[in-house]
C-alpha cells in the first residue's frame, strides 16, 4: 500500500490517507482481499498518531472500502455496486459541471443546453437501435 503524506497542503492527514487508499481501491491497485497494515503499524511507519490512522480506517470502513479486524489489521472489501454507482454519479456531475461552465462562457441558456443534451441522447438511442 502506497501512502504519501504532505505536511503543507492543509488537508488533514487522516483525509490524505483515506483519499489515497480509497483511490487505489477504486483503481484496482488494491485488489479485493488485499491485506492492509494495522492502524498501529501504519501509525508507526508514517510517524503519526494512532488516532489519525484509526480515523482514516474507520471512515474507509464506513464507506464500504475495507473491513477492519480488531487486533489483526484490515483488508480490502469487494467493490460495492452502490459505491461504484455513487462514484459514477459523481463523474456524471463533474462532466455536467464542465459542460455548464463551457455553456456559460459560450452564452448558452438552459434551453440551448437541454437541446444539446436531448440531441446527444437521441443520437445514442439511434446507435443502439441500429
Amino acid at each position: 500500500m502506497r501512502v504519501v503524506l504532505s505536511n503543507s497542503t492543509g488537508v488533514p492527514l487522516y483525509q490524505q490517507i483515506k483519499e489515497q487508499v480509497g483511490t487505489a481501491i477504486l483503481a484496482g491497485e488494491l485488489a479485493e482481499g488485499s491485506a492492509l497494515p494495522s492502524v498501529r503499524a501504519l501509525a508507526r511507519d508514517l510517524r503519526i498518531s494512532i488516532i489519525t490512522t484509526t480515523r482514516a480506517y474507520t471512515e474507509l470502513a464506513a464507506e464500504g472500502f475495507i473491513a477492519t479486524v480488531p487486533g489483526k489489521g484490515a483488508y480490502v472489501l469487494a467493490l460495492d455496486s452502490a459505491l461504484v454507482r455513487e462514484q459514477l454519479l459523481r463523474q456524471v456531475e463533474d462532466g455536467l459541471q464542465t459542460a455548464l461552465d463551457a455553456a456559460g462562457r459560450a452564452g448558452l441558456d438552459r434551453d440551448g443546453l437541454v437541446q444539446i443534451l436531448d440531441g446527444l441522447i437521441q443520437a445514442e438511442r439511434q446507435d443502439t437501435i441500429q
Binding site: 494495522s38 503519526i48 498518531s49
Partner: protein
C-alpha cells in the same frame, strides 16, 4: 478502577515546597495511546510524573495506575518503565552490570530481549554508563524498561538535548512499542514538535494546574491565534487574550475558539500550532519571582 485507562489523576493536590503546588490536577490516558504532557519549565510536569509513580505523596485526590490505586502494589513496578532526563544508573557500570544490578528487582526480566535491544540500538554491552551520549543513555533506559516488559512508559523530557536524528528514532521506538494495544506512553516535553505528529492526547500544564486535556485535535480546535495592530486588541469584552504579546507594531495572543467570533474583522484569526498554544499559555501569568540562587532549587 478501569482497565481501559493507563492511568488517571482525579483532583490531585500536592504541596511542593513553599512556592509551588499541584492544584486539582485531573486527567487520564486511555490504554493504547501516547499522551504529551506539555508545559514550560517549572509548570509541574516532573512533579506530576513523580506523583504517578508514587514517589511523592499527594495531599488530596486519588491516582489510578494500570488499574491499581497509587501507592500501588510493589510488583506493579515492572509494568511501568521510566525514562528520565538523566540516567539513574551508576556511571561506572558497564551495560552488562546494569543488567546484573537490575534483574533481581524484576521477576519478568528478559535477558535475551535486553541484549537484542542493545544490539538494535547500537549499544555496546561493554560500554560504561557514564560514557554514553545523551541519546544513547536514553536508549539504554528504554531498553531496560522494555526488558522488564513494561506496559506503560513514562518519559520525562526525553528529547531535550537530543539531535533530530535521535528524536526521530525515539518516535520510531515509541511506534514499535505501541504496536501492542495494551501499551501506553506518557511523555512530558516542552518541545511540542515531537507531539505534532505522533501525539494522540495532549495535556497542557501551567503553574501546577491543568489548563486543558484532550485529543490533540480537540486541543488544536479549542484555541485560535489572533494578531492585530497595536490598538486592535484592546478594550475587548468577553474575550480573554491569553499570553498577549504587545509590541509597537502589533499584538499577538491566543483566544478560546468560541470567543474568537467576538473579535472585529480587522483582526487576523488563525488555527494555532501546539507550539503557539504552549508559548501563550506559558506566558499567561507572571512567573513567580526567582528565588536567590544560593537557596534556589532547580525545578
Amino acid at each position: 478502577m478501569s482497565s481501559d485507562l493507563a492511568f488517571a489523576l482525579r483532583g490531585v493536590g500536592a504541596v511542593v515546597g513553599r512556592n509551588f503546588a499541584l492544584r486539582d490536577v485531573s486527567f487520564e490516558l486511555p490504554t493504547g495511546y501516547v499522551m504529551g504532557l506539555v508545559g514550560a519549565n517549572g509548570a509541574g510536569k516532573t512533579t506530576i510524573i513523580r506523583c504517578l509513580l508514587g514517589l511523592r505523596e499527594i495531599d488530596t485526590g486519588e491516582i489510578e495506575l494500570l488499574g491499581h490505586r497509587v501507592p500501588a502494589p510493589a510488583d506493579l513496578r515492572q509494568d511501568v518503565g521510566v525514562v528520565l532526563d538523566h540516567a539513574f544508573l551508576v556511571g561506572d557500570w558497564r551495560l552488562t552490570e546494569v543488567e546484573r544490578a537490575l534483574r533481581p528487582f524484576y521477576p519478568r526480566w528478559d535477558g535475551a530481549r535486553y541484549r537484542q535491544l542493545l544490539d538494535e540500538f547500537g549499544l555496546d554491552l561493554r560500554a560504561k554508563v557514564k560514557d554514553l551520549s545523551r541519546g544513547m543513555s536514553m536508549k539504554l533506559m528504554i531498553a531496560v524498561a522494555l526488558s522488564h516488559q513494561a506496559r506503560l512508559l513514562l518519559f520525562d523530557e526525553p528529547t531535550s538535548g537530543l539531535d533530530p536524528v535521535a528524536r526521530d528514532e525515539l518516535a520510531g521506538i515509541i511506534g514499535d512499542f505501541l504496536l501492542d494495544e495494551g501499551h501506553s506512553v506518557l511523555y512530558s516535553t516542552h518541545i511540542t514538535a515531537d507531539l505534532d505528529r505522533i501525539g494522540d492526547y495532549v495535556t497542557l500544564v501551567h503553574n501546577g494546574r491543568i489548563v486543558r486535556t484532550g485529543t490533540k485535535d480537540e486541543i488544536l480546535d479549542a484555541y485560535r491565534v489572533v494578531r492585530g495592530g497595536p490598538d486592535d486588541l484592546s478594550g475587548l469584552v468577553g474575550v480573554e487574550l491569553i499570553g498577549a504579546r504587545r509590541t509597537s507594531s502589533g499584538t499577538e495572543a491566543l483566544v478560546r475558539t468560541e470567543e474568537a467570533d467576538l473579535l472585529g474583522g480587522d483582526v487576523l484569526v488563525e488555527a494555532p500550532t501546539l507550539e503557539a498554544i504552549a508559548v501563550h499559555i506559558g506566558a499567561r501569568a507572571p512567573r513567580p519571582e526567582p528565588r536567590p540562587l544560593s537557596t534556589g532549587r532547580i525545578a
